[in-house]
Symmetry: C2
Subunit: 149 residues, 2 copies
Amino acid sequence: MPRKNFQCEIDDYKSWVLGLNARQPKFLHMTLRISDIDVSLRFYLDGLGMRLLGHFDVEERCVTALFLGFEIGGTAIELTHHWDDSPSRLCGPDYFAIGVPDIHEAFARLEALGAEVIVRPQQVLVGWPCVAFVKDPDGYKVELIQTRN
Amino acid sequence: MPRKNFQCEIDDYKSWVLGLNARQPKFLHMTLRISDIDVSLRFYLDGLGMRLLGHFDVEERCVTALFLGFEIGGTAIELTHHWDDSPSRLCGPDYFAIGVPDIHEAFARLEALGAEVIVRPQQVLVGWPCVAFVKDPDGYKVELIQTRN
């Protein structure tokens, strides 16, 4: 079930979590798939002292994403909760995201280096920047996010 | 086999990767276990454009750790290469590290919240700060690093 009643620290967190208009590449966030939002927020907010800086639901994918951090502008931890998820589907952090000024250039460079392609550069969600997914040499998933408009 | 001939950007990276003397909690690094250093550096340095900011070998544990980042002070990616490693032992990012000013206080708070304890606060390596390991509610490993002297 989607959840929309979280208390967030900032209204417009998009520029932060997506590194919008960053001129240099940036380690934007690490994404963890979680099974229970309330339980995880108790750990990360009450336990570790992080702040809930933003969240959104993607209805068509039945997923809630919550962005946590210690400071605005720093690398975030994104918790993703799939509404139909079960703990058995969890297996390590899902991926991590790198913001790049020119996604087509970065993607081409990685592909030329032999990186396995998961998703070619494309706008996956309306209103969000162009993204791509590749695998690092050990199979870790890396999301590229276009940061320059 | 240990490797000591990497070209690093800064001599004293310890204060950066460990967040020494940070007064606020900080997302210090995410650790990925890798199988081939040269192949991974090609991906992260030549491909993604990260910089190799520091590295060290832990002889008694037969592991090389390399710290990569886009900027000094930002969250790092730590690549760990176990000299006897095999690709089959890799299964997702290993853990991520949060710097905390008072590790005993943070650890006690997390334990009181029911977090599973892996390693209680202790100085694992001589000359390095006190660390602890707990699991988040989904089993993700979180390293706590004492940042205040």
